[in-house]
């Protein structure tokens, strides 16, 4: 076991993948000498050379498109998209090509790409640097979408993502890059598509992923002080979603709150609420609740604390499903 930050754990996973498979290569902007704007690839170009840690032109579509061509020759590219908000120029190559090539060719072509995307807000940055675009990709057939919340998962899930023969969008919770944790580099990882119950509880299921798992755990701790037992689930995989684990939890608690930074409308919270309602209808004591970003462009830094769900907003929703007094108790919708 070694103590690593989440960013260093990803770096360790990349190093291991480069060592183990000479068909793995990294592509991205500023990932060479600079080590990436978050230093995730620090030292890797020096160690593996410029042919395997490739500083590319500043063209996201070009990076993903050439990575596809490399896949036709058996290469396994790990692409770094510098920031969440920079992924849109590559949207066509990801959605129309990466996601569909395997099905289009009736299985003849595999695109074992890993797309690393630092995402999420609360880092005091400017527009396009704090977004949560995961739902676009979770909605797209052919892609797998995952996101770790801690250093151990960051390392293990990255290795599974790179090893996967399907394309994997690997969303990195950038505001947790500096979170430290013990990492066992030889640990047998939990399967990539499994959710994890990170805190057991009996009253409410709180579903979170990526950067909000830590906040959800804090909320559960605070809830316990008020006598509410909150079970926290770290989804880990956003496509597919491990609904079996959610079903078991909600059948036990009878209440569910789903949290994410991404905007609410058409988001993952809606999908989870629909499936949980379908599968746990008779166990539910209250309608599923969502605590999410609003359907607004990501706000300027001075306002982001109001946009990104925090502990208080999570507990307010917990109060709602518990039938306790909450912000909407005397609110009239229409």
């Amino acid at each position: 076991m070694t103590e690593l930050t989440l960013a260093k754990a990803i770096g360790a996973g990349l190093r291991r993948a480069l060592q183990d498979d000479d068909h793995v290569l990294l592509m991205g902007e500023d990932i060479g000498d600079l080590g990436g704007v978050f230093r995730v690839t620090d030292g890797l170009k020096h160690e593996f050379g410029a042919d395997r840690v490739v500083d590319t032109p500043l063209a996201e579509s070009g990076i993903v498109g050439t990575a596809i061509g490399l896949a036709f020759r058996g290469y396994r590219a790990v692409v770094e998209i510098q920031f969440d908000g920079f992924i849109y120029p590559a949207f066509d190559q990801i959605v129309a090509q990466v996601a569909k090539l395997h099905a289009r060719t009736q299985g003849a072509v595999q695109v074992p790409l890993t797309l690393r995307v630092p995402y999420g807000g609360a880092i005091g940055s400017v527009e396009h640097h704090s977004e949560s675009p995961e739902a676009y990709f979770a909605h797209t057939a052919g892609l797998r979408v995952v996101t770790p919340s801690n250093p151990q998962d960051a390392y293990s899930m990255l290795r599974l993502a790179i090893a996967s023969n399907d394309p994997v969008m690997y969303f990195e919770p950038k505001r947790r890059y500096w979170t430290k944790g013990e990492v066992d580099l030889e640990a047998v990882p939990l399967a990539l598509d499994k959710a994890r119950v990170v805190r057991e509880g009996t009253d409410v299921t709180l579903v979170a992923y990526g950067p909000l798992v830590a906040t959800a755990l804090d909320a559960a701790e605070a809830g316990a002080d008020e006598g509410i037992s909150i079970e926290v689930i770290d989804l880990r995989s956003l496509a597919p979603i491990d609904f079996d684990t959610l079903e078991d939890s909600v059948n036990k608690t009878g209440r569910v709150v789903i949290v994410h930074e991404a905007a609410q409308f058409g988001g993952l919270g809606a999908e989870i609420a629909a499936v949980v309602t379908d599968r746990c209808f008779y166990a539910l004591e209250a309608p599923p609740q969502r605590v999410t970003g609003f359907n607004v462009p990501y706000p300027p830094a001075k306002l982001e604390e109001h946009f990104v769900p925090d502990l208080d907003r999570m507990l307010d929703a917990v109060d709602r499903v518990m039938g306790r007094e909450n912000s909407l108790t005397n609110w009239v919708a229409r």
Binding site: L25, D51, T56, P57, A59, S61, G62, V64, G65, T66, A67, I68, G69, L70, A71, F72, R73, G74, Y75, P89, D92, Q93, A96, Q97, K100, H102, A103, R104, T105, Q106, G107, A108, V109, Q110, A141, G142, R144, S164, N165, D166, D193, A239, P240, I241, D242, F243, D244
Partner: protein, 374 residues
């Protein structure tokens, strides 16, 4: 001027326009082109006749596919009429281990690569989203998103570099695609990494209804040098000139010279697809001009001049094309409809619990409906 702007008194700077490389005049006269003659001098009588047969077969096949669409056997078809020389000449220059990434009109290229004719029509008949296994013929199935495949070709070429092989990737695309960001990004990547890729642009003068002037106010071949990629402008209706240019480009790529851009100047003599209505935009005089430069007529005249087109040779080529068309028609009509449950196949290469549940639910629905319980 097309833009409607009036002439200004701006300083006039001239940019030279190269005349397209030509080895055969539209009248079928072989003219000397010192820089390119040597690239086709190995072609013997049998080779010339084989090229001729290819040209005739693909035109016959292409017409048959259009007929099948008119008869309701295909939902849609994009004819390549007029572009036979550009496609046959370039594809015949390739080695088996080279790899083609094309758009959807390159059916003559696919033919040369060895794709079965009926497989090319699976997409248009609606029985599959692509027609063949790319690795059996070293040609990816067509990219419908314009220009996307140029990046795939460039990436493939970067893979060839890493593998230390001298295989070359070839991107086929049209004049419309040159406006896409992907094509421009592909040229940047190819130049930066000196990738062994050939950008083969068939400038057929039309992107559906938009004349090439909407995409480029200068010859398209002029763009590549700005990226650091040399370009050749070639008469796309001259099969020998196309083959020579392609061989030059392939040799450059194989020997570490990097990418080359070829603009094959040709003309789309048919509609964009069978759903198109060229009568709303076509320029009849221009079309007539190009009809006089027909790639097959020109090659016939050349072969005739060489004394190769004996009655026997003509009959043999006609029989081959009739036979190919007949077998194609039968095989196309016999393409089986896919099974409903096959929509779930190959979406992922690994198990996916969410999709698997949808699949099982749909299977239950199908057996419920088909079981007649409703």
């Amino acid at each position: 001027m097309r833009t409607g702007l009036t002439e200004t008194s701006s300083p006039q700077l001239s940019i030279a326009i190269d005349e397209p490389i030509q080895l055969l005049t539209p009248e079928g006269v072989r003219i000397e082109a010192p820089e390119y003659d040597s690239w086709v001098e190995d072609l013997g009588d049998d080779d010339l006749l084989a090229i001729y047969e290819d040209l005739v077969v693909v035109r016959r096949f292409d017409n048959e596919a259009t007929a099948l669409q008119r008869q309701g056997q295909l939902g849609l078809w994009p004819p390549l009429l007029g572009q036979e020389a550009a496609q046959i000449g370039s594809a015949r220059a390739l080695r088996k281990d080279d790899f083609v990434f094309s758009s959807y009109r390159e059916n003559a290229v696919a033919y040369v690569r060895g794709v079965a004719l009926e497989d090319m029509t699976k997409v248009w008949r609606g029985t599959a989203n692509s027609g063949w296994d790319p690795f059996t013929v070293n040609m990816a199935t067509p990219a419908v998103i314009i220009g996307a495949q140029t990046l795939h070709a460039t990436g493939y070429a970067m893979g060839c570099q890493r593998d230390g092989v001298d295989s070359v990737a070839v991107a086929y695309f049209g004049d419309g695609a040159t406006s896409q960001g992907d094509v421009n990004e592909a040229m940047i990547f190819a130049a930066t990494f000196k990738a062994p890729v050939v950008f083969f642009c068939q400038n057929n003068q039309w992107a559906i209804s938009e004349p090439v002037g909407v995409q480029a106010i200068r010859p398209i071949a002029d763009r590549a040098p700005g990226f650091g990629i040399p370009s050749l402008r070639v008469d796309g209706n001259d099969v020998l000139a196309v083959m020579a240019a392609m061989r030059v480009a392939l040799e450059r790529a194989r020997t570490g010279g990097g990418a080359t851009f070829i603009e094959a100047v040709t003309y789309r003599m048919g509609p964009h697809t069978t759903s198109d209505d060229p009568s709303r935009y076509e320029d009849l005089a221009e079309r007539e001009e190009w009809a006089a430069k027909d790639p097959i007529t020109r090659f016939e005249l050349y072969l005739d001049g060489l004394g190769l087109l004996t009655d026997e040779a003509r009959a043999s080529v006609k029989a081959a094309s009739d036979d190919a068309a007949k077998r194609f028609r039968a095989a196309c009509i016999a393409l089986p409809d896919p099974e409903p449950m096959s929509v779930f196949d190959h979406v992922y290469s690994e198990p996916n619990a969410n999709l698997d549940r949808q699949k099982r639910e749909f299977a239950a629905y199908l057996s419920y409906i088909e079981g007649g319980t409703r």
